[in-house]
């Protein structure tokens, strides 16, 4: 055993080691920082935890947000979801699926000049309430819609 090696490991600590690995090319910076990816929010297992991680513990309801999605999704692997926010100053839109293993599916940042409308497709494990969370002028608003799934899109 090389005593010098032990010392190096001890003195650098885990953060130092990560940095060393990153510079040595073992870890790309994106692995360490994940481009600011909100790991806490995406890993949250319940709606309450997810909302907390997004800083939106008590979102208000709003008639100005429309969540367009089918009432029944035959294939849970591909469920089209469109969120349309008419709220002035819409800054971000997130799509949450209550009964998925991790509710947060996607979050979109809309700079000024970009309209408050996004469309995407998501996976649903089973019939669930789907939520659109909108941040407008620093306040959070949320609407929901139940989507029935006849064939789940997770596992298998």
């Amino acid at each position: 055993m090389n005593p010098m090696r032990r010392t190096v490991l001890k003195s650098t600590g885990s953060a130092g080691l990560l940095a060393l690995l990153a510079t040595a090319g073992f870890l790309r910076p994106s692995d360490v920082l994940a481009n600011g990816w909100n790991k806490i929010a995406f890993d949250s297992k319940t709606m309450a935890e997810t909302l907390k991680a997004l800083g939106a513990s008590t979102p208000a309801s709003s008639d100005a947000i429309q969540l367009r999605a089918p009432d029944i999704a035959e294939n849970g692997a591909v469920v089209p979801i469109a969120v349309d926010s008419k709220l002035p100053g819409t800054q971000s839109i997130a799509v949450l699926i209550d009964k998925n293993p991790q509710p947060l599916a996607a979050s979109f940042e809309l700079p000024s000049g970009t309209e408050g409308t996004v469309t995407t497709r998501v996976k649903m494990g089973q019939t669930s309430d789907v939520y659109a969370l909108v941040r407008a002028d620093g306040k959070f608003y949320m609407v929901k819609k139940e989507i029935k799934v006849t064939l789940g899109g997770c596992g298998g």
Binding site: R28, S30, D31, A34, N35, G36, W37, N38, F42, A77, V78, V79, P80, A82, I97, N100, P101, Q102, L104, A105, A106, S107, F108, E109, L110, P111, G113, T114, E115, T117, V118, T119, T120, R121, V122, K123, M124, G153, C154, G155, G156
Partner: protein, 103 residues
């Protein structure tokens, strides 16, 4: 290297409608293969679209976004003939950038 994205951008009355279709497995990390082994998660984590050097949309995704993700949004102040660029980065650090001309 992942396949190119299909990007369609159409300007109408000063508003550009952008549709993007990406080519990605979007593996959740919860599915098992034929041998009963978990298939490791592999999904796009961040997406960003720029027009004239300005970000017009950025997104963070989890594994619940469908395989071969689709994305549609609208932004103002885009002209026909200008370029729009879209970049994604996945959880393995792979990335891809594609460009399209606004029609």
């Amino acid at each position: 290297m992942a396949d190119p994205m299909r990007i369609r951008a159409v300007a109408r009355d000063g508003v550009v409608n952008v549709k993007v279709l990406m080519s990605h497995e979007m593996e959740t990390g919860q599915r098992k293969d034929g041998a009963g082994q978990l298939v490791p998660a592999h999904f796009i984590q961040s997406v960003s679209a720029t027009h004239n050097g300005k970000v017009v949309l950025s997104a963070q995704w989890g594994p619940a976004v469908s395989k071969n993700p689709f994305l549609e949004f609208n932004f103002k102040a885009g002209q026909k003939g200008e370029r729009i660029s879209v970049t994604w980065v996945d959880n393995k650090g792979e990335q891809r950038t594609d460009e399209a001309t606004i029609n």
